[in-house]
Symmetry: C2
Subunit: 123 residues, 2 copies
């Protein structure tokens, strides 16, 4: 199983489900299995992939394995996304939203829409 980029990893719906589960707290394989109604080998295999890709790490608790998230790959994806964020913020004002959502500064002067209406470069 190659599975090079973080993108390929999160392309799989079940894997995304597992990751989303782990956001709330760490979980054992069995717990994941039950909550997502997936057969145990499936869970284990996906966890394997996730671990190899650095999305999760596991510790041993008796015969259970507890899995928890690791940040790196997420950050990679986020980093790739960054340039586009700059772009889409021109269209919708999602970034403004984003900004004063994260750190609601006192009296953010909302200078409305700076449309990046670029002139189409012919050839």
């Amino acid at each position: 199983m190659r599975m090079e980029s973080a993108f390929e990893i999160i392309a799989e719906p079940n894997r995304r489900a597992i990751l989303s589960l782990l956001v709330s707290s760490q979980q054992s394989v069995g717990e994941i299995e039950r909550q997502l109604h997936m057969p145990q080998p499936t869970v284990s295999k996906h966890l394997r992939v996730l671990r190899d890709a650095g999305f999760v790490e596991s510790t041993v608790d008796a015969q259970r394995r507890i899995y928890r998230l690791k940040p790196q790959p997420f950050q990679d994806v986020d980093a790739w996304l960054a340039p586009f964020r700059r772009f889409w913020s021109a269209h919708v004002d999602a970034l403004e939203c984003h900004l004063d959502h994260m750190e609601r500064s006192r009296r953010t002067k909302r200078k409305t829409k700076e449309k990046t209406a670029r002139p189409k470069p012919r050839t």
Copy 2:
């Protein structure tokens, strides 16, 4: 070609390359073809997929097609990423970085590492 989620779309390296290209400005098929050294049918096919998924749109200029980015799917990915962002910010201080990178607040008291050493919940 099913290709449901935005994640599957950006799992493909060539597609990511095309998208990255389009960040700077809109491009015709031929231009993409040359810059990425990909055979033309390949480019066209990927563009098709990207368009179906709403990543790009095209307009006609003589016999050329000009492709440009569309924001929606990127935002979807970003939205999915959000919960994890909250999480990884606890580990590395990427968020702090992120924050005072985006909006450099006056005198950010960097209270070093708040390790989220949560007590393992047995069962």
